[in-house]
């Protein structure tokens, strides 16, 4: 029995906390092998206690470094240490946080907002076990076997660390909803961990365990080949924790539960009792947060014990264990076709813009002083100053060689040149209602697809909102991935009422959040303008529905969002024209605009906007 599980069953605490403690123990045994933990929890006592526990279990000499969200490459990977360089009068390399965390772990603050670039750098280090630096005139490689603890403070479902990072972390742990009083210090002894660490290299893994874990991964629809590999390492660590040198069925089950179950994209077909279960209605915020990639709230720790001793094949035992740990909402989500979407939602954010004073991409340096927002490029400044040092020194001291200070003059100053690429996003708001759009939905889709191709060429982001029945739905969060845009468009269903106000509200909210991020949104609304569902969901043409729509349209205008309304009705209608007027949008009736012309108009409109923002 594992110490964590033992104590929990004796005292009857929250089993999730006991499991969290087991994760801490397994991670502490092999941080470099298990590669890390994604810890979903808001800052608070529970998370603090978990981190304390981890700190206690890790060897005293193992470094535990914090990585701030917007860390620079120089601090993360290493590069020129400017202070030391100036002092020494010759280039001195500085180590980055990752190299310094060798043998230990790094803590990523606010990992749900981690930029894709940083995630990729971490991923490379996790993959290779070393930091490679080609920066600032230095080329180096230093060993860096480390684990990552990603502190995920996301609340919304799509607020998650980048997929590229999650794919490489063994444990996806969710502490949400664990009460602080349950999070007691568990009697896991750091000496046990130390003994397990020593034992780990000798732990043997029977081939049938390997087969069982691979089979389970496949049955659960876990696609990445990394997950089973991580599960094997976790199983080894589990055996070592128990003081054994052979991985047992129990270890394999634990690994499947911790590593594979949270990544499941399908529920194995054999079990029909789960399929009959009614979709779980998430009623608590913490339940909502535990989406399909989070560990399940109630793992039955006795599950593997039940199967132990029975003569069932190992594959089944391991699969059962994992299946029992599949998050509850998964099935419902899969049935709604949401599982994959939310999985993909965090992706496609690669190369997202850097906010702050340095927005835009670097386009070299120029001579100049750091003022009016221009940032000094220290390296280039030093480079410029470097060749003149002996001469200047001579001029100043008359040949005394003892002073090694670098003399920098005004002429040497170099500032970053930044090419500001005005990022634009096109938000398509598609009326998928039954009314008039029904007949023209296909044409509208065609137009959107053409526009998508344009956006792709311009590297614009696109988002897709559809409204029908009672509500508007964000089908595609802003992305650059053409593949995903195409997919969600082809899946767009039609029929139902026309909640135009809801559609416009959703567009306004998205446009607002985009412009806060420094992206210029353009709203392209495809509708016939005949609203018949008001904001509160009541049906009925005219009256309240129209008023609400007009109201929502005016909000968009007040925001100053650039907009375009494509009238999809068979004949140009007044209602659509009126909405366009309220939105301050360009009005284009579709009968006169074939898909090609439409795309030309949008291109012209967005191009105008782009030049304006420069």
């Amino acid at each position: 029995m594992k110490p964590a599980a033992a104590s929990s069953s004796q005292r009857g605490h929250d089993p999730r906390w006991a499991e969290a403690a087991t994760v801490a123990a397994l991670f502490a045994i092999d941080p470099g092998g298990t590669q890390g933990v994604s810890l979903r929890a808001l800052a608070g006592p529970v998370r603090d206690r978990w981190l304390e526990l981890l700190r206690r279990l890790m060897p005293a000499e193992a470094p535990l470094r914090r990585v701030p969200l917007h860390i620079t490459d120089g601090n993360l990977l290493g590069g020129l240490d400017l202070a030391a360089t100036l002092q020494a009068g010759r280039p001195v390399a500085g180590r980055g946080v990752l190299a310094e965390a060798h043998g230990g772990a790094v803590l990523l603050a606010m990992a749900e907002r981690l930029p894709g670039g940083t995630a990729a750098r971490l991923a490379a280090v996790l993959d290779h076990g070393e930091v490679r630096v080609e920066r600032d005139g230095f080329a180096s490689r230093s060993e860096a076997s480390l684990g990552v603890v990603a502190l995920d403070e996301g609340i919304e479902e799509d607020e998650r660390p980048p997929e590229a990072l999650l794919d490489r972390l063994s444990f996806l742990l969710d502490l949400t909803g664990i009460a602080a009083r349950d999070a007691e210090d568990l009697p896991i002894d750091a000496r046990e961990i130390a003994a397990a660490r020593a034992l780990l290299p000798t732990v043997d893994l029977p081939d049938e365990v390997l087969t069982a874990i691979c089979t389970t991964a496949m049955a659960l629809g876990v696609h990445s080949a990394r997950a089973p590999l991580l599960a094997l390492r976790v199983a080894r660590a589990s055996a070592a924790l128990d003081g054994r040198t052979t991985v047992s069925e129990e270890d394999a089950s634990l690994a499947a539960r911790l590593v594979l179950a949270p990544r499941a994209t399908q529920v194995p077909a054999s079990e029909d009792e789960t399929e009959d279960a009614p979709p779980e209605e998430p009623d608590q915020p913490d339940q909502q947060a535990s989406e399909e990639d989070q560990p399940q709230p109630e793992p039955p720790p006795e599950q593997p014990d039940e199967d132990t001793g029975s003569d069932r094949p190992l594959d089944d035992v391991v699969l059962e264990a994992a299946k029992a740990a599949i998050p509850e909402g998964l099935l419902a989500k899969l049935m709604e076709g949401l599982g994959n979407r939310s999985r993909a939602a965090a992706q496609g954010r690669a190369g997202a813009m850097q906010t702050g004073g340095t927005r835009g991409r670097p386009a070299g340096v120029r001579r100049g002083e750091p003022k009016a927002g221009a940032r000094l490029n220290v390296i280039e400044t030093l480079r410029a100053a470097a060749p003149w040092q002996p001469l200047r020194r001579q001029a100043r001291l008359g040949g005394a060689a003892s002073d090694t200070r670098v003399e920098v003059r005004k002429d040497d100053m170099r500032v970053n040149r930044i090419k500001r690429r005005s990022q634009t996003a096109t938000i398509f708001v598609v009326d998928a209602s039954g009314s008039a759009a029904f007949q023209r939905l296909a044409e509208a889709k065609g137009a959107v697809e053409l526009l998508l191709a344009d956006c792709y060429v311009r590297r614009d982001q696109v988002a897709l909102i559809a409204f029908r029945r009672q509500e508007a739905e964000l089908l595609l969060p802003p992305t650059r991935s053409l593949v995903r845009a195409k997919r969600s468009l082809s899946e767009l269903p039609g029929g139902g009422g026309t909640p135009l106000a809801a559609g416009l509200d959703a567009a306004a909210a998205l446009a607002d959040s985009l412009s806060r991020k420094g992206v210029t949104p353009t709203v392209v609304l495809l509708t016939d303008g005949r609203a018949n569902v008001s904001r509160d969901g009541t049906k009925g043409r005219g009256g309240k529905a129209d008023d609400d729509a007009a109201d929502a349209a005016k909000t968009l205008r007040a925001q100053g969002t650039r907009a375009l309304l494509v009238d999809t009705s068979a004949q140009p209608t007044d209602s659509a024209r009126r909405i366009a007027g309220d939105m301050g949008a360009l009005y284009i009736p579709l009968p006169y605009a074939d898909a090609n012309r439409l795309s030309n108009v949008v291109r012209a409109a967005t191009a105008k906007g782009e030049s304006a923002t420069r």
Partner: protein
Amino acid sequence: MPDTNLDAGAGLPLDATSPGTSMELAPAFPSSAPGTVVPLPVRHAAKPDGGKKRKPDKAAKAASPPVPSPAPASGAAKRIPFPFTAIVGQEEMKLALLIAAVDQSVGGVMVFGDRGTGKSTAVRALAALLPPMKAVEGCRYGCDPAQADRLCAECRARQGHEALRAVKVPVPVVDLPLGATEDRVVGALDLERALTKGEKGFEPGLLARAHRGFLYIDEVNLLEDHLVDLLLDVAASGENVVEREGLSIRHPAKFVLIGSGNPEEGELRPQLLDRFGLSVEVKTPTVLHDRIEVIRRRDSFERDPAAFAAHWEKEEAKIRRKIEKAKARLPDIVVPDTVLESAARLCMTLGADGLRGELTLMRAARALAGLEGDKVVTDAHLRAVAPPSLRHRLRRNVLDEAGSTVRIERALAEQFGP
């Protein structure tokens, strides 16, 4: 931070210029020795005197070991790469890499694929398969002694005083790490010399190191735009022109660009895609047996890399010989007119833009014939290399749900029969 710094003088001389070092792939080992402090190796530049042309000094010699080492020697700094031949499945990717190894003029290889499909593993494993090449001894750019007209300025200058000696060196496979700065990519003023001696000297970058070899960029879509532009420019011209800090240097930089990326992370610019000769797609194996084998090999490699590599060494040697023979055979392989016609017809049917498609198709088919030991290129060769050669050159049709691969298969079936 300052207390952990090692200054450049005290650092270990890093064999950064040795191409052998760029080919390792290291799985994360269970950390057996936590907390050991590894001194940061600092690049101690090899300095053949830029200004005065003299014999190469010791550092330069050390930088290009005369003995090729296909299997890297064991040691703390060297990591054993996962053997190429031990990769399960992914035949198209392996074939494309082998073709690029046989005939570099095929152009680069772009590998698209899902996470965890072993894209990087394959590319890094390639280095161990490449037969060594001849290079001018002591040349910082690895000039080819056989091509007197393509020598770098330093070699040309040396030619006046002495006969250039040729040594065998491993073909470089240079890995461009994320976060690399422009100065390290193109090369820049040697900061150390500038700071300590006040001299201007050129410190070659990764492009110089990749000359005559391969430049690998993992996650191409995450590379900064200005670096991408720069790489494309150099890859197209085969020459790196550096104009910075009053330096004006040009040196040959012909390399095969190998990129990998995940289409879900964002698409590649068409201009960039077009520069790759071959484009392959890798998928997670869907057969359980294959997946188990993938994990089994990976696991036993992680447990004991040396033993695993030794186990596969025979296979590796076989492929190495195959590449060597194909390279030697290449000039004599005949491409009949009928095959050229077939290639042209195929490109026309598919509406593949430009002549580049046809040229790649022909070269790739020839390299494949070489690998298979054939003297004449046939339609069968053409057919095998058509998908990777043309996939990325088809005009995008947003409305066509069928991917490029399906369209090519269709055209192939039409032209050559099922």
